[in-house]
């Protein structure tokens, strides 16, 4: 079709148009509706069911009546009416049972629920929903699926496609997660006090897991996985609006914005990964970088000592700030990694620190740290350890040792373009 094709100008089929519009409204409003209902019924599984009922009503009525002026409010009103009906039925049943047991007890059937009908800020409910869906009683995978479903409005099929698992697996994960939450009696609330930090970490972990699932894109068709990155970014931005006083939320948003800015540059023409130092920085998305810097600034303004996400974002910002790879402030990156390794001790972080030290102060300094990591069992089969060591050795002119390391790294990676690169580096270490 060319741009002047008249078919493009014709009005689209009214029916599929209506369904597309309803679908869009649903994705935009699902989280708020489910959140509002969950506060009424204290059960996110039931809340989702009631919200789905409202969606079905919309699918039946809107194609005939047209989309209402405020579709979100329409869906919410229908869903709440159903929730009240359901609660009243339940209460009548309970009262009957009680009457049989203890005799009469006169009580207004549903004052609490009518009270809920006036508008308490929906933002509070959304935050409660985030914390509930990401409750640590659930596995990270279950939290991710439930979050995408309840807060992203994604279908089970879409989640399955994104995570490259069968639809039935995701369906079961979600059903089990809801049951686990109900059985554990997880309250629908925002945790306060000492509990809050851990619970927030649990939320951020899930958002970053969703992001990385898309960012890593290690297999499968990548379009849906790229959507995961965007969905994680969206969730992060929403979360930053809901909990603006939490520096780590802004830190995570900053980290994701800056990482996402490199999407276009980080793979080569045939899909091979391109290292950050070799990337064409002109392909980095300036808008996302700017948003990332702004989020990082918001985090820093809150004045707390930097947490792991703020530190990682600060490292990402160092790269984003350098106009060329040579301009990278490696000393600052090494210092940030040192803070990070103290907060979250991990051999992988330590390896990154070694790289930064090697860049900032010469290969010998990096090699010291790498050699201290040599016996780390977690890195036994991690190809980047010999790869980094090979690089440092080569820069020191210890070519024989470097070649052995590159060959070992090549044997450990399953990524073909990476293996090719490592083998060519090994070959380059052979004196001619």
């Amino acid at each position: 079709m060319t741009a002047s094709d008249p078919r493009r100008e014709t009005h689209r089929d009214a029916h599929s148009d209506a369904h597309g519009a309803i679908d869009a409204v649903w994705r935009m409003e699902a989280a708020r509706i489910i959140a509002g209902l969950a506060r009424m019924v204290h059960d996110i599984g039931l809340a989702e069911e009631l919200a789905q009922d409202a969606l079905v009503a919309a699918l039946e009525q809107w194609p005939e009546s047209g989309t209402p002026d405020n579709p979100g409010a329409w869906l919410m009103a229908v869903a709440k009416r159903r929730a009240v009906d359901r609660i009243r039925r339940q209460q009548r049943l309970e009262r009957k049972l009680e009457e049989i047991g203890h005799g009469l007890e006169d009580e207004d059937p549903a004052p609490e629920f009518d009270a809920v009908l006036d508008t308490d800020p929906i933002e509070d409910d959304l935050l409660r929903l985030v914390f509930t869906a990401c409750h640590p009683v659930l596995s990270a995978q279950a939290r991710a699926a439930l979050t995408l479903r309840l807060l992203g409005g994604l279908t089970t099929e879409e989640i399955a496609r994104a995570f490259l698992v069968p639809e039935a697996t995701v369906a079961q994960r979600i059903v089990r997660a809801k049951r686990t939450l109900a059985e554990a009696g997880v309250p629908f609330e925002v945790p306060e006090g000492a509990e809050r930090a851990d619970r927030l970490a649990s939320v951020l972990e899930v958002v970053y897991l969703i992001f990385n699932e898309g960012y890593a894109a290690s297999g499968g068709t990548s379009w849906m996985r790229v959507d995961l990155c965007q969905e994680a970014l969206r969730l992060g931005r929403v979360l930053a609006g809901l909990a603006p006083q939490e520096p780590e939320v802004h830190g995570l948003v900053a980290l994701m914005e800056i990482q996402a800015s490199r999407t276009r540059a980080r793979t080569g023409p045939s899909g091979e990964p391109v290292r950050i130092l070799d990337q064409n920085r002109g392909l980095w998305d300036r808008l996302l970088i700017r948003r990332g810097f702004a989020a990082l600034l918001r985090a820093e303004k809150l004045g707390a000592p930097p947490g792991p996400y703020v530190l990682q974002a600060a490292i990402a910002a160092c790269h984003a700030q350098a106009r060329t790879a040579e301009e990278t402030d490696w000393a600052r990156i090494a210092a940030l990694y040192e803070l990070l390794v103290r907060l979250t001790p991990s051999p992988v972080v330590e390896l990154n620190r070694a790289v930064a030290l090697g860049m900032a102060y010469g290969p010998a300094r990096g090699l010291e740290v790498v050699d201290a990591l040599g016996s780390e069992p977690a890195l036994k089969d991690y190809h980047l350890l010999p790869s980094v060591r090979g690089d440092l050795l080569a820069r020191l002119g210890r070519l024989d040792e470097a070649r052995t390391e590159f060959e070992r790294a090549a044997s450990l990676t399953r990524n073909l373009p990476e293996r090719t690169l490592l083998l060519s580096r090994a070959a380059a270490c052979t004196p001619s």
């Binding site: 935009m28 579709p71 959507d227 990155c229 965007q230 969206r234 609006g241 800015s261 999407t263 998305d285």
Partner: protein, 114 residues
């Protein structure tokens, strides 16, 4: 998916109430993680044409209604339908007028021609 929503003409001169409602709408879009950037545009456009190696710069023509606000919003939504829905919400506040929505290729989209 990124979309650029632009108003090309608006009939209504914004009053205080409209500005307040629009402010709320913009805030809501930011909080929903949808709005990437937004701004008003000076209706006095400078037009640039290039033809046969010659670049011509002309000021105007200016729109009649100088007080009418034209503007843009760069948004990120999951589908085009979501962008259209947001646009409907915008016009419910803005009143009569016209605009366009165009997809903007973001970092996740392949470079055109690549």
């Amino acid at each position: 998916m990124r979309f650029l929503m632009m108003t090309t003409e608006t009939e209504s001169v914004p009053d205080e109430r409209l500005m307040a409602e629009m402010g709320r709408f913009i805030e809501e879009m930011s909080r929903a993680g949808v709005l990437l950037a937004t701004g008003g545009l000076d209706p006095r456009a400078t037009r640039i044409t290039s033809s046969g190696g010659k670049v011509t710069v002309t000021d105007g023509p200016y729109t009649e209604a100088k007080e009418a606000v034209v503007g843009f919003a760069l948004i990120e939504t999951r589908t085009k339908e979501e962008a259209v829905e947001l646009s409907k919400r915008f016009w419910r506040i803005a009143g009569d007028g016209a605009g366009v929505i165009q997809q903007v290729f973001g970092p996740e989209d392949p470079m055109p021609g690549r």
